[in-house]
């Protein structure tokens, strides 16, 4: 009933919708949906992943003038071509065309107050959306300003509003009143803010001061130059305002300067000031980009070279998930998403294949890169470490490890190197000749170094190296990884399975065939004697006390590959794969391995979280934890680091909205109802938008219903997981992955509730989700009343039809019998065809005789006619012979035809001996050529039997041919088929066909009559089943046995015709 299709493919063309959406005055908000956002990401930033949306990505105009986030979770921002709502993927635009209450397309400023009123300042006036109602402010309502420069709000939701033309308004007690302007030049309008006591502050060139209830009171800032051209202020999160005066940022508390941050590098004209939740103050410049002042007072600047689209910045807005949104005039919208992972060693390693990373005792980490060699990396700086040998060779680093003695081991594509202390690198020979490279290095608790080699492993104990191969219980094969368990036993995994070293030799723990059903690429000792196994494509497995179980088979972890397992010391495993890094609690994984979790909580990190790429290499060590607890990961495009102790997960369950309901209207009549009920008509497609009228009833005959929904999480909308359910159809949640559209076909009349729930990028579910109840109305013929009426009618009609049905039932029974008989006849027919194939040569011979005779006679006659006078007597004899032969040929053809002809059982009294003689005549030539004697002693006087002549002939034929086939053995002395007929006591005639072959193998005896069972090389196995069908249709039976004197005998019975013929 329900068909789910990935929504991207199924999304209707936007233009199609736009062109058909009618304006509905009843709808409070009618949006046109813009294109979905396709972001491009600027990745080089050390703190943020910067994604951009511009006109090409669906913005109605390439500006974002102000932004708010409404309670329901949507982000709203202003552009000069409409007010835009964003759900993380799609933009919806409000403009005067679809929202007449909106004075202008040009949105200059926005504010969402504590009472959830949305203040919208446009190029043509101020409007406020309260709930679903728009309220306009004009001169009559006390609005005389042009457009809003700033909003400031007190805890009681009273507002101070400043305008570009230097006016100041207060909104209190639901009334707008203009306040007197403070002294000094308003320049481009005052900056409004509010202090911890709720007093209004204004800041602008030549004036910084507060409202004392009657007038503006100037506040003198000691040591600062009021009158500086660049002045701004904003209400601080902790109370008193932040004030920017020229090259100084001031934090005021209780009217006193608490903090002064000098910003000598600040430049450009100031447009706005914002503070984020991490204590950063952001300064938007209208000509020099964006500045961030960190709590430590560091200034950092973004411009078009490092992530911005244009130098004119308007605002920085922080959403509930701590993403920062940067608006611009002409440069679109940017999202600054704080990185979870930092890229490290960017000067040398960015974009490079990093294979291995290991903490250095002297600080930083060692890094082996596959195309640039060995590095010592300190945070974002990486220094190259030179390794002897031709540069191009040592560049291909595979693995690096520093042991407890301070020896640095480094393997490249050609050699293994060791450096003691600060001495130069030495080439380390492998114990196995021919081995030159290893991608796997491991140090055990005794300080021995283990390395995988081409066929096995080598272990160094000091300078003493030992080859681990077949001699130590290790079959030849590639080794992928090592680990050590809590008992000090070294484990290794490779092509040949998983092995444990028990002092002297390796013992196999897991065979190469598994389970797991894939190669084990990494091993990690867990608590309680557990060994965790990561596989190439079969996920994570747990080994404990000899038993294996898969962790998260049901958990739907996105990565089926586990290239390494890194314990962060905080109870979590970090598991790099070819598709990002999965983080899950060891405790939860234990439970998953016990089979008790259905939805394993996990996070999945990839490039959207700051990894250079989600693809992490295999090999060991490919990730490591340093002394300060930071985790380092090698990736195919660089080195990544995360500090698990300061990992900020998105703990907010995503708010959910059902945005539209679309259905196809059956006809014009219902479509007009739809318009009346608040829908928009689009040809035969009707689209309803949230907020929906309740109760929501869809007219009868809904062919297709589509629901569009969105979870309003903005960190990584691509990672949101949805589950949907339609009560009335199903009780189970259905996994919708990232799909934002549910589609239902052919919904029968009834009441439904559509439910959707979602998990954010870090796997936090909004369990309650969103729901929409709707009813599909029945057609009149689907209503109860109509059906009752019909039922009464049916009752009456029922009686009338009862006798007719009885009559029909009788007829159907007869038809059924007919059908059964026809079926049997078909079987018999196919059997005949098979049989004929086997008899073809014999029949051809039969036919060729008379034809040849005719030919010769004709030729003779021709010659005789040339004589004068012709011998008429002889010619007459020839003609007679030709007649005779023609008759003979016809007889053969008739026999053939009667065998081929599809007939149902046509029971007649049959002379069985006569029929048998006919069959014998048919096969006699075949028998002769096979050297078989057909013995048919004249039977005693036998009454006629009741049966179908042709069918009985066929059974007999089949049995005789089978009997002859059974005597193909060249060594047989006598080949004889005996046919006997006799009457039984039970009023049947029994026919026996015996042969002198080797008999039937006992195990075949009871299978002989099964279809397609055959012992012949060229048989189909249909002959005997068909015979059985025929005989049983005659009320007889057929069976086979071995004769005591050798050979087999087939016996069947047919009923003897009673006096008077047909029963």
């Amino acid at each position: 009933m329900k068909v789910r299709i990935p929504w991207r493919r199924q999304r209707p063309a936007i233009g199609f919708w736009l062109s058909r959406i009618a304006v509905s005055p009843a709808a409070a908000i009618c949006l046109s949906i813009g294109a979905s956002a396709q972001t491009s990401t600027f990745r080089a930033d050390p703190w943020y992943l910067i994604d951009s949306w511009e006109t090409e990505d669906g913005l109605p105009e390439n500006s974002a003038t102000a932004m708010v986030q409404t309670r329901d979770g949507y982000l709203w921002f202003g552009t000069f071509n409409g007010l835009t709502r964003f759900d993380g993927v799609e933009f919806s635009v409000l403009n005067p065309a679809n929202t007449p209450a909106l004075p202008s397309r040009g949105i200059v400023n926005l504010h969402l107050d504590r009472k959830s009123r949305l203040w919208v300042s446009t190029l043509k006036g101020l409007a406020v959306l309260e709930g679903r109602r728009w309220r306009a402010f004009g001169a009559k309502e006390g609005w005389t300003g042009d457009y809003v420069r700033t909003f400031a709000e007190r805890p009681d939701a009273n507002l101070l509003i400043t305008t570009f033309d230097g006016k100041v308004f207060e909104f209190a007690q639901d009334r707008l009143a203009e306040l007197p302007s403070p002294p000094g030049h308003p320049n481009q309008g005052y900056f409004a803010s509010v202090d911890e006591d709720g007093r209004w502050w204004l800041t602008q060139n030549g004036f910084v001061g507060r409202w004392d209830g009657r007038r503006w009171e100037s506040v003198v800032i000691p040591g600062s130059s009021v009158g500086s051209s660049d002045v701004a202020s904003v209400t601080a999160r902790s109370g008193g305002p932040w004030i920017l005066l020229g090259k100084e940022l001031l934090k005021l508390e209780r009217g006193q300067v608490k903090t002064t941050i000098p910003l000598p590098q600040l430049r450009g004209g100031i447009w706005g000031l914002n503070e984020d939740s991490r204590g950063n103050v952001w300064i938007s410049s209208y000509d020099s980009g964006l500045f961030r002042v960190s709590p430590a007072g560091d200034l950092y600047r973004w411009n078009i070279n490092n992530g911005l689209g244009y130098h004119a910045s308007r605002f920085v807005f922080e959403d509930r998930e701590q993403n920062l949104w940067v608006g611009s005039s002409g440069g679109g919208l940017r999202r600054f998403k704080p990185r979870r992972f930092s890229e490290m060693g960017v000067n040398a390693l960015s974009g490079r294949v990093v294979r291995s990373v290991w903490p250095a005792r002297t600080g930083g980490v060692w890094v082996a890169s596959y195309d640039t060699g060995l590095f010592h990396c300190f945070d974002r700086e990486a220094l190259r470490v030179s390794v002897p040998g031709p540069v191009n060779e040592s560049n291909y680093g595979l693995s690096v490890l520093e042991d407890r003695n301070g020896n640095l081991w480094y393997s490249d594509s050609d050699h293994l190197w060791r450096r003691r202390d600060q001495s130069p690198f030495d080439k380390v020979p492998f114990a196995q000749p021919g081995s030159t490279r290893t991608g796997t290095l491991f140090e055990d608790s005794e300080g021995r170094i283990w390395a995988a080699i081409q066929q096995g492993a080598t272990v160094w104990d000091g300078d003493q190296s030992t080859l681990m191969g077949p001699g130590s219980g290790l079959p030849p094969g590639e080794v992928f990884c090592f680990a050590e368990d809590s008992h000090g036993h070294v484990w290794l995994a490779g092509e040949q399975g998983v092995f444990r070293h028990g002092g002297e030799r390796f013992a196999r723990i897991i065979g190469p065939a598994g389970p797991p059903h894939s190669e084990v690429l990494c091993l990690h000792p867990g608590s309680h004697g557990t060994m965790w196994l990561g596989t190439r494509e079969d996920g994570l497995w747990r080994w404990r006390n000899g038993s294996l179980s898969q962790a998260g088979a049901q958990a739907r972890i996105p990565a089926q590959a586990v290239h390494a397992i890194l314990d962060d010391g905080l109870g979590y495993f970090w598991m790099p794969s070819n598709r990002g890094i999965v983080r899950a609690a060891e405790r939860d994984l234990e439970q998953a391995a016990d089979g008790s979790f259905r939805n394993l909580p996990y996070q999945h990190f990839d490039h959207r979280d700051g990894l250079p790429t989600g693809e992490c290499p295999t090999g060991q060590p490919s990730c490591a934890r340093d002394e300060s607890g930071r985790l380092w990961f090698a990736t195919q495009k660089g080195l990544a680091m995360v500090d698990p102790a300061n990992l900020q997960l998105n703990t907010l369950p995503p708010p959910l909205c059902i945005e539209t309901l679309t259905y196809h209207a059956e006809n014009a009549a219902t479509a007009s109802e739809d318009i009346a009920s608040g829908g928009a008509l689009a040809g035969r497609i009707v689209r309803l938008q949230a907020p929906f009228a309740q109760p929501l009833a869809l007219p009868a005959g809904r062919r297709r219903v589509e629901l569009h929904y969105a979870a309003l999480s903005f960190t990584s909308p691509e990672k949101i997981r949805y589950q949907t359910r339609l009560d009335g159809i199903s009780r189970d949640w259905e996994e919708a992955h990232g799909q934002r559209l549910a589609r239902f076909y052919e919904l029968p009349p009834g009441d439904y509730v559509f439910r959707v729930r979602a998990a954010n990028n870090d796997g936090v579910w909004n369990e309650s989700g969103a729901s929409l109840a709707f009813t599909v109305l029945p057609f009149f013929w689907q209503t109860f009343w109509f059906r009752s009426g019909v039922a009464v009618l049916l009752l009456v009609a029922g009686g009338v039809s009862a006798w007719w049905r009885a009559h029909r039932r009788h007829r159907r029974q007869i038809e059924d019998m007919e059908r059964t008989r026809r079926h049997q006849a078909e079987l018999a027919h196919s059997g005949r065809v098979t049989l004929l194939g086997q008899l073809a040569s014999a029949l051809a011979h039969e036919l060729s005789q008379p034809l040849a005779a005719i030919l010769r006679n004709a030729e003779a006659a021709e010659l005789m006619l040339q004589n004068h006078p012709p011998d008429l007597e002889e010619l007459r004899a020839i003609v007679a012979d030709i007649h005779k032969d023609d008759q003979r040929a016809s007889d053969v053809i008739d026999r053939l035809r009667s065998l081929l002809k599809r007939r149902t059982l046509d029971s007649q009294p049959v002379d069985l001996p006569g029929l048998t003689a006919g069959v014998i005549a048919l096969v006699s030539s075949d028998a002769t050529s096979r050297g078989v004697t057909l013995a048919f002693p004249s039977p005693p006087e036998l009454p006629l039997v009741l049966g179908d002549r042709v069918h009985l002939q066929q059974v007999l034929l089949n049995l005789i041919v089978n009997a002859m086939d059974a005597m193909k053995e060249p060594s047989l002395g006598e080949r004889r088929v005996g046919i006997e007929i006799q009457e039984t006591a039970s009023g049947m005639a029994e026919i026996r066909v015996s042969d002198t072959g080797s008999g039937i193998p006992p195990d075949s005896l009871n299978r002989l009559f099964e279809p397609f069972y055959t012992t012949k090389s060229n048989g189909l196995g249909m002959g005997l089943p068909v015979s059985k069908t025929i005989i049983e249709a005659h009320q007889g039976s057929i069976w086979a046995e071995n004769r005591p004197e050798g050979g087999a005998v087939f016996r069947f019975t047919v009923p003897i015709a009673r006096q008077g013929g047909v029963p």
């Binding site: 005789q849 040849a852 030729e859 006659a861 020839i878």
Partner: protein
């Protein structure tokens, strides 16, 4: 020797009659037999001609008939007629040395040509047989000693070698040779050797090219 005849053997009565009519009308002397047994019983030892037989017959089939005929001093050539679908049997017969095969519906011209060929072969065999018989009769006139001498002459030995081998005088050898050539009416040793080989008188003779050096 009786006149050559075409002996037709077939269990199919009408075909037997039809083919005999055709051959008779084509000018052959025809004798019909409904079964191989009856045919062999009636066959005269010096019968000439050929046999046309159906390949497949109850009791003795065509192949068996051919085998029986081969025991005669002068075997009659056999032409086999086969119905359609008898390919495996035909192949078997060919392996046993049968030369002529026809299907029963073969064109009349082919049938007649085959019969003529078979008759010609019979006639050739018969003429050969007669010549051989005459030759052997000539050699039969030689005495035992003359045959011994002839044998050695045929091997290419010189008179004195022959004399040494047989322990007789060289002049006696010459005498025997003169008697041999006069009885056989040949005049050279080479002619003598050719004749002797033709008559298969000394089947194991290595021939004149290989003097045995005695």
């Amino acid at each position: 020797m009786s006149d050559p005849k075409v002996y037709i053997v077939d269990d199919d009565e009408t075909y037997l009659r039809a083919v005999s009519r055709l051959l008779r009308a084509s000018g052959f002397d025809v004798s019909t037999h409904p079964s191989p047994g009856e045919f062999l019983a009636e066959l005269e030892p010096d019968a000439a001609g050929c046999v046309i037989t159906d390949l497949r017959m109850p009791g003795m089939d065509g192949i068996a008939l051919q085998a029986a005929l081969n025991k005669f001093e002068i075997p009659l050539p056999v032409v086999f007629l086969s119905g359609q679908g008898d390919i495996p049997t035909t192949v078997a017969a060919m392996r046993r040395g049968a030369e002529d095969f026809l299907t029963k519906q073969a064109p009349k011209e082919e049938l007649i040509a085959t019969v003529q060929r078979a008759l010609a072969r019979d006639q050739r065999q018969r003429a050969e047989r007669a010549r051989m018989k005459a030759l052997q009769e000539r050699f039969a006139a030689l005495s035992a000693r003359e045959l011994q001498v002839l044998q050695l002459v045929v091997r290419g030995q010189l008179n004195k070698q022959i004399a040494a081998a047989l322990g007789i005088h060289e002049r006696t050898v010459k005498l025997h040779r003169t008697s041999i050539t006069s009885k056989l009416r040949v005049y050279s040793a080479a002619e003598l050797a050719t004749l002797a080989r033709e008559a298969q008188l000394f089947p194991n003779s290595p021939g004149p090219a290989f003097p045995n050096g005695q």
